[in-house]
């Protein structure tokens, strides 16, 4: 289809770099795709919330609703040969990298059909063949890991880049500064994506960071502040960053975004912020509504057609859940698989070591 341009919600703010233009090229297909993909993510997370409340999902479960524009905008700017690594809030990134709903729900419920065969759970989704390296539970650890992916890309002369995603809370972690220094010294094609949703658990950004201007926190490393609720701004920034990183090494993108849910399922998400704050963001900045408006503005679909798509998605999600529920629990023998790629022919022990051991 023909291309046309949309303008980002607000200008980019650069740190040690000339920010890209606010005019973003797009197509009808892309716009409709953004709508569909973000709506699917939204619906999937809402469904996960319900499954958790129904006790079909256990432990931690960190939902991404509100932040969808970051996932789809980033994906629109890159290819599957580029790598992404993120923290525990990983369901939607998995989806954007080619993962499917059944793998997602099955993993969340600890079933065999899950993307990690039920062994990883909510925080541990991976899809190496789609350039997705997880899914990490330790705050900040994914940043050096991501720089390591970028190291490998450069080592192998692939001309691809890695996006390492982390939160505003994680942005204070020392290992991030260590990895950034090394990445800058070695010109690694590493793009640090700070998803600033303004809270790390119950702590507002300014209580955890003396300087919450995360796009500047690389100091000697360039940065860009981006409206993370605007998929087109994200896309533009990621394109810019990829070009930059291949030529000049690391760059930080701060995505100004918001999580609608609490931190994880045990957090109501309402003790450290006001309901007003949340509903204001929903009304003024929601990433899906923004795209819906653009679609209507450009007459690419009618209100009713968009509703139909949403209905379809709802069905898709319901079907996936039903299918995932059909998937059995992992076979008990799975307890002992995947410890190593290559066993050593020695015994591995279960709880009752006298009775419960196998050779691997």
């Amino acid at each position: 289809g023909p291309t046309f341009t949309v303008e980002t919600s607000v200008p980019f703010v650069g740190h040690r770099c000339e920010p890209p233009s606010r005019e973003v090229e797009t197509t009808a297909k892309e716009l409709m795709g953004f709508f569909r993909d973000m709506s699917l993510m939204r619906r999937m997370e809402i469904a996960a919330d319900a499954l958790y409340k129904a006790k079909l999902i256990r432990g931690f479960c960190h939902l991404y609703d509100g932040q969808e524009a970051v996932a789809v905008g980033m994906e629109a700017a890159i290819t599957r040969k580029d790598a992404i690594i993120t923290a525990y809030r990983d369901h939607c990134i998995f989806l954007s990298r080619g993962g499917n709903l059944v793998e997602t729900f099955a993993e969340l419920m600890g079933r065999r059909a899950g993307c990690s065969n039920g062994k990883g759970g909510s925080m541990h989704f991976y899809k190496k063949e789609g350039g997705f390296f997880g899914g990490h539970g330790i705050v900040g650890a994914q940043v050096p890991l991501g720089c390591g992916l970028a190291f490998a890309q450069k080592y192998l002369r692939e001309e691809t880049v890695t996006f390492a995603m982390y939160g505003d809370g994680a942005a204070n972690q020392g290992q991030l500064f260590e990895a950034l220094n090394i990445s800058a010294l070695w010109d690694l094609p590493a793009i640090l994506i700070c998803e600033n949703n303004h809270y790390g658990m119950g702590t507002a950004e300014w209580r955890a960071a003396k300087s919450p201007a995360y796009y500047k926190r690389g100091d000697y490393v360039p940065g860009l502040k981006v409206d993370g609720m605007d998929a087109f701004a994200v896309k533009q920034a990621c394109k810019f960053a990829k070009e930059h990183a291949l030529k000049n090494g690391p760059i930080i993108l701060e995505m100004d975004t918001y999580r609608y849910h609490g931190h994880s399922m045990s957090d109501p998400g309402s003790t450290y912020r006001t309901r007003d704050e949340i509903s204001n963001v929903r009304q003024e900045r929601d990433p899906i509504e923004r795209v819906r408006k653009l679609i209507l503005l450009h007459d690419l679909a009618s209100v009713a057609e968009l509703k139909d798509i949403e209905k379809e998605i709802r069905k898709e999600v319901d079907n996936a859940i039903a299918e995932a529920k059909e998937s059995p629990l992992p076979d008990p023998s799975e307890l002992f698989t995947d410890i190593f790629v290559k066993g050593c022919g020695t015994e591995v022990y279960g709880v009752e070591r006298k009775e419960n051991k196998i050779l691997i």
Partner: protein, 336 residues
């Protein structure tokens, strides 16, 4: 009267803060959020932001700051949201805290407590389920405590805070909400338990079961089952992993002649291995059967409910191990 472990820990912190102005709390979400697991509930309001400090998510930084404050003579209580994250700061626990009094020949002591939930919770997978008991108890200069009941929690935490040396205090998330009967003596603000002493939770004569933290409850349940089958099990709640109460353990085994060790952590170089070695060293001639070790499966913690259940000890596993130690027949386990 009953009290949850959460209330026990909270009241211990409260009393020690009120008794000694040098005691302060720091950690992620300990203040305004009232603690990720609500252990520090109400303390910010009562003691103010100078003594209850919310930190950024930077364990190495804030643990180092805590240890430095202890060098100066304050008495920090550092909360790790879970002990998995203590690995980010472990150099400060080992090199800055544990070894300091020794290498300074007593010039600089380190009165600090590192506390938080340790080991497996429910459904939190590989990176959030590790038991650090054996690692910390490996290291001289540390005292390592792990409470089971509300009495333990109060008495040991108060002891830890009053102690002039670095103490690693390993709690268990699943126990936080559990209620235990509690006496007036234990509720008294002067109550304190000795560090380095185990508690015989249940006397018995046929077999000794050692356990700590949540596994004490499982061991007691197993002992109950076994008593119905005519086996009298003595259950030792270790309470202190370092120093380990070798005297109590060996005395019990000399009486019962049989030993089953129970822990949720990984087996190799674990708590059970040391207890076994200690008994072999000190009471070899008393042992009438091979020591039985029950431990977490030697695999990273899986998420799926059925696998997770297989990965940590259940009451049945303890019962089976005791029967093997007592040469009773045991139902054949499902093939692995």
């Amino acid at each position: 009267k009953e009290m949850t472990v959460r209330e026990a820990l909270n009241s211990a912190l409260d009393e020690e803060m009120s008794a000694d102005p040098k005691v302060f709390l720091m950690g992620e979400e300990v203040g305004e959020y009232q603690g990720a697991y609500k252990i520090t509930k109400g303390l910010l309001e009562k003691y103010g932001p100078e003594r209850v400090l919310d930190t950024p998510i930077t364990e190495a930084g804030f643990t180092g700051i805590g240890v430095g404050a202890a060098y100066y003579g304050l008495r920090p209580v550092v909360e790790f949201m879970t002990f998995n994250f203590s690995m980010q700061a472990i150099d400060h626990i080992i090199n800055s805290a544990a070894k300091m009094n020794y290498m300074s020949a007593g010039n600089i002591s380190v009165p600090i407590v590192f506390r938080g939930p340790n080991g497996a919770a429910a459904g939190v997978s590989s990176q959030h389920s590790q038991c650090y008991g054996a690692w910390y108890a490996h290291v001289p200069g540390l005292k390592v405590l792990s409470p089971y009941s509300s009495e333990d929690a109060r008495g040991l935490l108060k002891a830890a805070i009053r102690d002039p040396d670095p103490v690693v205090f390993l709690e268990n998330e699943i126990l936080y909400g559990q209620s235990f009967p509690i006496s007036d003596e234990v509720l008294d603000s002067s109550f304190c338990l000795p560090i380095g002493k185990a508690k015989i939770e249940r006397e018995g004569k046929d077999v000794t079961i050692t356990a700590f933290s949540k596994m004490v409850g499982y061991a007691l349940q197993a002992a109950e089952v076994l008593s119905k089958e005519g086996i009298s099990a003595e259950v030792i709640n270790l309470r202190s992993l370092r120093p380990l109460d070798r005297a109590a353990i060996n005395a019990s085994v000399r009486k019962t002649t049989r030993l089953v060790t129970v822990e949720e952590g990984f087996p190799q170089h674990g708590i059970g291995a040391e207890i076994c070695a200690s008994v072999v060293e000190e009471s070899f001639e008393y042992l009438d059967a091979p020591v039985e070790r029950i431990a977490g499966a030697d695999v990273p913690m899986p998420y799926a409910a059925n696998l997770e259940r297989l990965a940590v000890p259940q009451v049945d596993n303890i019962v089976n191990a005791v029967k093997r130690a007592c040469f009773r027949s045991v139902p054949v386990a499902a093939a692995a």
